[in-house]
Symmetry: D2
Subunit: 118 residues, 4 copies
Amino acid sequence: MATDYTNLPTPSFVYVDFCLVPLGTGNPSVAEEVAEVQRVLNASKLSYTLHSAGTTVEGPWDDVMRAIGQAHEALLQRGIVRIQTSMRVGARTDKVQHWKEKIDRVENLLAKDSKESK
Amino acid sequence: MATDYTNLPTPSFVYVDFCLVPLGTGNPSVAEEVAEVQRVLNASKLSYTLHSAGTTVEGPWDDVMRAIGQAHEALLQRGIVRIQTSMRVGARTDKVQHWKEKIDRVENLLAKDSKESK
Amino acid sequence: MATDYTNLPTPSFVYVDFCLVPLGTGNPSVAEEVAEVQRVLNASKLSYTLHSAGTTVEGPWDDVMRAIGQAHEALLQRGIVRIQTSMRVGARTDKVQHWKEKIDRVENLLAKDSKESK
Amino acid sequence: MATDYTNLPTPSFVYVDFCLVPLGTGNPSVAEEVAEVQRVLNASKLSYTLHSAGTTVEGPWDDVMRAIGQAHEALLQRGIVRIQTSMRVGARTDKVQHWKEKIDRVENLLAKDSKESK
């Protein structure tokens, strides 16, 4: 096992979907914090989309993780003392697939169902 | 601590966002499996939406969890031997808020930014 | 596609690992809430273990999800108005594997490394 | 809103708990891949622990994310074509708390229960 693990690069393309939760704010609403996160992502110039349960960002591993880390720091600097975040990360080398294409593939499969049942 | 924990009910309304991953299929694509999951959700009559990194389902805890459990079982019965799923669950008693309203609130906050910067 | 999805059962054995976050409490500590969750799990008679980043519960899908739902309800009844939970669910039909065995397998593989490097 | 988001730092201390799933391998077991991930973390010199449902790593945001990114890359370079990972991230500024202390606090609360019920 002669791999030099310390010099490995990080993946060149990933998607990261995340949902950030501020703790101890005394306010059950998180809209202000989610808006601030979007501002950080917007400044990053990465491709991202807000959806029903989080935000998906796409790009090189280091850039995506740096932007999400900055989003955490932005909230900590505004006085949020604790943050708990859930993330889903996807990496693949067999093809580059934008999230929109993934949804399209599923919807095409489902469209065939209704044709077949006629 | 006299609470009778065994007879507690489960929450009357939750949203569950999930991303299901089949293992050991020899195929890196998951579109077929995601389509099958949508069919199970469709049969459940619950409200759900497919997005960039998963599917969000809303309704009573027991109904939502039963439908997602059935989605797992549907894939196991089709020969998938192992499934690993990531979920985000949200429960709140202060108000009922459909996911669309949550996104609208954030977008309204961001819309104010651009007005203020003019 | 003649499957009757509405009558599908749920998986007979799963592990669910979860991390529950109370929102709007005004207190960044979550130890009280985590302790309450352990009390609910203890009453459920299911097998569970608390670890560095959550709690893992094992058993039939319906029983595990009911217990975790009751844990949410226990906190909502104590006045927590919003909860956000992250879960990992694992289901497999090829074998029953307790989480302890999974860790042992990995540690056995790593133990071979140090023998080989001598 | 004059914040310069692009020059924000990332948090100085986080814990990241992750569970990495290789897709398309034709093998439902993941022990080999989990062992490889541990080797990358070991080389990183960060503090980490393997538990019932994942691995928890602690340290500065950039270092932790770099190590986890390298773990992904190590598997991609070994021929895994797709990886899906679930992560929980915790950041706080009110105190530095090792995961072991968090568990101790909960267990101390539960120990009081049994004293009170005597």
